[in-house]
């Protein structure tokens, strides 16, 4: 079997953590057993590295800002409205859109794991999955917003959504002033990932 062993020795072992080695070993075992096809793994990775990410969500938000009928459909039943733009599926089977206003700011967390609307935002950033965010988002949302450099007016109510089931939440940030008449493409460039989680605001033009 030594001739099948080559790729384990491509690198000096001292450079590889135990986890790296175990992941590599498990992939080899599962491939040899016929349980996984490495080409399918490559495609999964490529999909989430290059195709599915927060640019998708930004397009949804930009359309909602630009098109009142679309906004109404999105707020009424987000899953089909988002599917109109071609985004659907895994970890976004049941999506609810939450509109931020001057009166209410929405913020999304998953205290129990890392639930996140993949089709529109991609895979969650490390901070979203981390203990500091998951512990404090529900008990001290204004403090968490401060960590992101966001301070809301005292009379803005904060609404935190803990994603404990298979419902995924997408925040529609407030549209910045001075963007009247902008194209959807131009609007989408103002929509950040964090503004769609509720830990940020849309960029000012």
């Amino acid at each position: 079997m030594s001739d099948h062993h080559d790729h384990h020795h491509d690198h000096d072992h001292s450079e590889l953590s135990e986890t790296q080695l175990r992941v590599r070993a498990l992939e080899t075992v599962l491939t040899e057993k016929g349980y996984v096809d490495p080409a399918a793994l490559d495609l999964l990775i490529e999909t989430y590295e290059t195709k599915v990410g927060p640019r998708n969500g930004a397009r949804v938000v930009a359309r909602a800002w630009a098109d009142a009928d679309y906004r109404a459909r999105l707020l009424k039943d987000a899953t089909p409205a988002i599917a109109e733009l071609g985004y659907a599926g895994r970890q976004g089977e049941h999506i609810v859109a939450l509109e931020n206003t001057a009166a209410q700011h929405n913020m999304v967390v998953c205290t129990l794991c890392s639930c996140y609307p993949w089709p529109v935002l991609g895979l969650p950033p490390v901070w979203y999955k981390s203990a500091p965010y998951r512990s404090r988002a529900v008990s001290d949302p204004r403090g968490v917003l401060k960590d992101f450099g966001v301070t809301l007016p005292n009379d803005t109510k904060i609404r935190v959504w803990d994603s404990t089931a298979e419902i995924r939440y997408l925040v529609i940030p407030m549209r910045p002033k001075g963007t009247e008449g902008w194209s959807e493409d131009k609007l989408a460039a103002l929509v950040t990932r964090d503004s769609m989680i509720g830990t940020g605001l849309a960029k000012q033009p």
């Binding site: 992939e27 349980y35 901070w127 803990d162």
Partner: protein, 219 residues
């Protein structure tokens, strides 16, 4: 289970530290661990709730000391070993040493996008009626199952208001045990900050969870 995963309201973890221009993955092994986890679910024969339980079902200190993809990978290893799909001596050797088990639905490249696009909807048809309606006051039950549940500790025993009847959805508490999907009515329940956190709560903040009917009683 009351494990290291149930973090809502804990103190001592410090500030949130966003990483500017964060890459999707931070190491090559994270990519492979992520993809292996997605690809193995169908041939491995486990559902999403079993997967979540496999991640949280470890000593709390260990859970908190691991990175997120380390947790994913440890869960993948444990689920595969439990089902005799792979053995420790094989991981140690980096090669298959035993006859593979027969598995179904191996993910082919041609199916990847189709499978992702389809996802795994959890809403189910029912002929039952929801027990609660929007505006009803409910108390989250005090429960402490050592098995998987999606009722976080910080709402147990607290009174909230039904905001929305979501639909009838697969019940994780049984689905995680292989005891059936057992669909139950699911609600968005909103709690006031002061009800959850007392004097330390933010009176301008509310928090909601999505809670299945068996978690709730009228208040």
């Amino acid at each position: 289970m009351n494990g290291g995963q149930d973090l809502g309201g804990m103190h001592g973890f410090g500030p949130v530290e966003p990483e500017p221009n964060e890459p999707v993955f931070h190491a090559e092994w994270e990519k492979r661990a992520f993809a292996l986890t997605l690809a193995m679910a169908r041939p491995g024969g486990w559902n999403i709730d079993m997967g979540r339980f496999a991640r949280e079902n470890r000593p709390a200190g260990e859970y908190l000391a691991m990175s997120y993809y380390q947790v994913w990978f440890a869960a993948l290893e444990s689920m595969m070993k439990e089902r005799d799909l792979v053995a420790e001596d094989e991981i140690a050797a980096g090669h298959s040493l035993h006859t593979p088990k027969k598995v179904e639905r191996v993910l082919s490249p041609a199916d990847v996008l189709k499978v992702l696009h389809r996802g795994g909807p959890t809403e189910r048809e029912t002929n039952t009626k929801p027990a609660f309606k929007p505006g009803d006051r409910v108390r989250a039950k005090t429960i402490n199952p050592p098995t998987h549940t999606r009722l976080p500790r910080y709402v147990r025993g607290r009174i909230g208001e039904i905001e929305r009847v979501i639909g009838c959805h697969v019940f994780p508490d049984t689905n995680s045990l292989g005891a059936g999907e057992n669909p139950q009515w699911l609600y968005t329940v909103r709690f006031d900050g002061r009800e959850l956190w007392g004097p330390q709560g933010d009176p301008t903040a509310t928090v909601s969870v999505d809670a299945w009917e068996p978690y709730l009683v009228p208040a």
